[in-house]
């Protein structure tokens, strides 16, 4: 009795409750599956080449702005890595930086700018248009081919059941995957070609990596330095940042790795 139920349970697990089989035209696979895959792979290749061509060239930042950004970064680095310094070194740096930041000595002064403007207009400031156009172009290059191919698949490959999925799904997916088939009772596992497009979308990233990985053309060269040097458009005012950092540095509790080091070394070797 027990082995029988276990066997049938195993059968259901193995086959996933398949219903009656449909017999499909073998030409369907040849003329629908493979062309969609080929087109998607080729469009992906073209997309990567285009990304390389329109990728943002290295941005230039005016020197005063750089000084301001780097002083803020230096204060943050000091607080983060302070345990590597001795107490005297830290105190020297702490006093100098606190004074410089509180004075706002290295602030980049904007000529004749109203103090009350909350955020810079993204379209007029020169540094940010580059960032925005590159972001917009990147998004565009990513989404236009997706939309175009989706329309193409729906137009040419609609209206028939293409294949049977190896795994079962819930009924919610029926609307998405069987978009052009008008029967209500068909098992969710029989899908139209839109589902092949959706499955391919996810599965093509490893394929691109295997085909083009290690090819320097396909990696977007955004160096970490460039990312660091461009300020986020919505970030807080550098003046406020400097004041806040001056405060933080003044009240910082410094613990050095060199405190009690003799005891620890002796303990290690005793």
């Amino acid at each position: 009795m027990l082995p029988q139920s276990v066997l049938s349970f195993w059968e259901t697990i193995r086959t996933g409750n398949e219903g009656p089989e449909l017999l499909l035209d073998p030409n369907l696979k040849l003329w629908a599956l493979i062309p969609i895959s080929i087109v998607m792979i080729l469009v992906g290749v073209a997309k990567q080449c285009i990304m390389v061509l329109v990728s943002p060239k290295s941005k230039t930042v005016p020197r005063v702005k750089l000084t301001e950004i780097l002083y803020i970064a230096k204060a943050r680095a000091l607080m983060g890595n302070s345990s590597n310094l001795s107490t005297e070194s830290f105190k020297m740096r702490q006093e100098y930086l606190a004074q410089v930041l509180a004075d706002g000595k290295y602030l980049a002064i904007k000529p004749a700018k109203d103090e009350k403007t909350a955020m810079e207009n993204p379209f007029t400031s020169p540094g940010m248009t580059d960032a925005m156009t590159s972001m917009a172009l990147g998004n565009l290059v990513n989404y236009i081919p997706q939309t175009v191919i989706m329309w193409w698949v729906n137009y040419f490959f609609a209206g028939f059941v293409l294949m049977k999925l190896p795994f079962p799904l819930t009924i919610r997916f029926k609307q998405m995957l069987q978009s052009s088939v008008r029967t209500d009772d068909l098992d969710v596992r029989w899908v139209s070609s839109m589902s092949w497009y959706i499955i391919s979308m996810g599965g093509l990233t490893p394929v691109y990596n295997v085909l083009f990985g290690g090819n320097r053309l396909s990696k977007l060269n955004v160096s970490a330095q460039q990312q660091q040097l461009s300020q986020s458009p919505g970030g807080p005012n550098p003046k406020d940042q400097m004041k806040a950092l001056a405060n933080d540095i003044t009240v910082f509790q410094h613990i050095s790795v060199l405190d009690n080091i003799e005891d620890r070394v002796l303990k290690l070797y005793s």
Binding site: G16, L165, P166, T205, V207, N209, V257
Partner: protein, 105 residues
Amino acid sequence: MSYRFTDLKSSKSGSFNNNKLLRIQDSTMLTAGLSAGILQLQSFAGFGMFFAVYILVNLIFIAWFCKFKPSLYFTNPVHKIWVKNLFRELAGFVMTWTLAFTLVR
């Protein structure tokens, strides 16, 4: 107390190691999908094969390349080797699984 000098990791080595691991995982899981489709495996059996091959490939990687010490080569070995690429490999496996399943049937 954080001894910061001992926590410094080279990011160039990190990305080199991650790319190697990713390349191995990608190619093996895509082929595993082909085999699953050829064997006409269905739902649970198919996912079982995915997990079996994924675990096998990662164990061989840890044993052979990392010499059983993955923390020497990866910053957060459990996450980097097992978790980070799981869904990406799952998507690749499902794609080749469906492809082979349909072509062979």
